[in-house]
Symmetry: C2
Subunit: 334 residues, 2 copies
DNA sequence: GCCGGTCGTCGAAGCGCTTCGACACTCTTT
DNA sequence: AAAGAGTGTCGAAGCGCTTCGACGACCGGC
């Protein structure tokens, strides 16, 4: 199989042109007559030529690879991550780039290594935390980078994320539109708030702001992820707030437990209790009943991150902060 | 920041040696006196030298990058995938390799591209299906590859996976040891069996074989993933098999629904019904009650796949098939 | 005191590509 | 008819590294 690898000079010889001409046909950086282009392209096909990535990177100082850096805390959000990653890869390919996967195991050393060795042209960091130790490094790198999520001091960085503030607010508004007066937010486990993860806090703030604006009664609680803890939380919530008729769940792992707990506590959804979730679409759809939800637009976030990082690579100026509008999908739980 | 990039010849000059000497210090391919080595290493540190990946790949014909190819069906198993991926990256780093992430969007073209362009030295494919269209391509590639999962005709390929046959059997044995006589297996959605995904079928076969061996009564059913469908399945199962006292669930998404359904149908776990799951450890731990489970050893599978592919790169001979023994963790559900 | 053998180092030849300047044409414009 | 302005193509100079053959220095054995 796979005979000796074909080089650009063999293509040139086969087409009867200079090596540089083949290169220009491929890159389009100089005008080439239609006729010559045809011949070169034919030779490329005939010989099955693929440019050597290393040689290209060496000569052009561009590897056409971007790094995708996984979050520090591997446990979090795991399912969504894969969709981000997949979206980033797909988007990168549209810009003729490939994606190198980096984990946090190496700490910042990995980032430094791939940047300094010119293995990658640019970086996308997933699931950035408020106090993210990778952030200072990015500021001193020559390579452009984009963060998914917001650190505490985002000045000078480029960040993309779902507008969680708006998402929290949107859920409250939706419940208000449905006539609910007293509502609750069940959020992330308390440890997530403690370590100051941006998105959890921002959702809660948006929820609280909308509740105040709309003159509702509202309460926001952290929510653990085992059934028993969720059950207790829900039970106490119902005891403490007898008038409660709507709940927003912003905790993917707890969604099914909240529904199960309500079921056991004799509350029907949506008749006795309206439920809105902020979670991936498939989780919302698969729940019973299917949940009205704010989607986490993983694909869109990933795509946007790549678009931004490519713009930066081309030297274009991009906004520091890109917030993607939440989209509420109404299903049968409200 | 990041002043002009440092090259090997600057290091050589700084240390007062030839370029090739620096190279040999780094690669260890020729003996270098301790004294010279020290001086070179000092210069490398002083200047902050990092070898250029492209130049290295060009000269040595090794990119030190392996491709990790995501499964064709993105929807499947999503959480486990991330753990595989993460394990593969970590393991690859131990062999001084990085990982390029490839999706199925491009079909086989992506694989062909990164191989032909020498962007990667080797490939690891995740979640291979029985009739996987990427498999024929691998056979004609010069680059070594390892599959996670088994295709229908694995001859000439290198495959790694959990021994699902043994896992199914192990669950049945465990229930038998606990004194259960009549047991059931709730498996993947029927569409998964229809498309012949290897692991689902193999688990079922192992379960059936053990049931026969042990003289139990056993039934195996596919299992959908919405609560309502699961509820029906469980209800019918209990009606049809009044003596049933143990159930094995091999469907990550359905685990919590099965538990909720049993709860609603008035069966206590483990008193009225023993439950064993084949799923990731965290899912089993977080369920209520925590489930006895066979772990899917994602980390180990990933690590093993990398080890094998590195062996092949070095020209060593490796076994065609590597099956990882299932490990049963007993928790409070049996 | 000479020979063969390591040992440690060097210089140079690529690896396959991009890019720059040069140059031969062919059109326009005067 | 000459000067200028494009076009389209070529040759050569690297990009930063690895690797090969060469070669002095030094060793022990005779």
């Amino acid at each position: 199989m796979s005979r000796r690898t074909v080089t650009i000079s063999e293509v040139a010889k086969h087409a009867g042109v200079a090596v540089s001409t083949v290169s220009y046909v491929l890159s389009g950086k100089r005008t080439i007559s239609a006729d010559t282009r045809r011949r070169v392209l034919d030779s490329i096909n005939a010989l099955g030529y693929h440019p050597n990535a290393g040689a290209r990177a060496l000569a052009s100082k561009r590897s056409n690879v971007i790094a995708l850096v996984l979050p520090l805390r591997a446990g979090m959000h795991v399912p969504v991550l894969m969709r981000f990653a997949s979206a980033v890869v797909t988007a990168a390919r549209r810009f003729d780039h490939d994606v190198l996967l980096l984990t946090a195991d190496e700490g910042t050393a990995g980032i430094r290594r791939v940047a300094a060795s010119a293995l990658v042209d640019a970086l996308v960091l997933m699931d950035v935390e408020l106090d993210d130790r990778r952030v200072p490094l990015l500021r001193e790198l020559a390579e452009p980078s984009v963060l998914i999520g917001f650190p505490a001091r985002p000045a000078g960085l480029t960040c993309v994320d779902l507008d969680f503030h708006a998402a929290g607010a949107r859920c409250a508004e939706h419940l208000a539109e449905r006539g609910h007066q007293e509502i609750a937010l069940l959020g992330a486990p308390s440890v997530v708030y403690d370590r100051g993860t941006g998105f959890a806090t921002r959702t809660r703030d948006g929820f609280a702001a909308a509740v105040a604006d709309l003159g509702l009664k509202g309460v926001a609680l952290p929510c653990e992820e085992t059934f028993d803890e969720v059950y207790e939380t829900v039970r106490d919530l119902l005891l403490d707030h007898p008038g409660l008729s709507g709940v927003v769940v912003h905790n993917e792992a707890a969604v099914s437990h909240v529904l199960a707990a309500l079921r056991q506590l004799g509350r029907r959804v949506p008749q006795d209790m309206a439920v809105v979730a902020i979670c991936p679409e498939d989780v919302a759809e698969r729940a019973s009943p299917p949940l009205t939800s704010v989607l986490i637009p993983a694909e869109e976030v990933g795509r946007e991150a790549v678009r931004l990082v490519m713009d930066k690579l081309e030297g274009r100026v991009v906004p520091d902060s890109t917030l993607l509008a939440p989209l509420l999908a109404v299903r049968s739980s409200t």
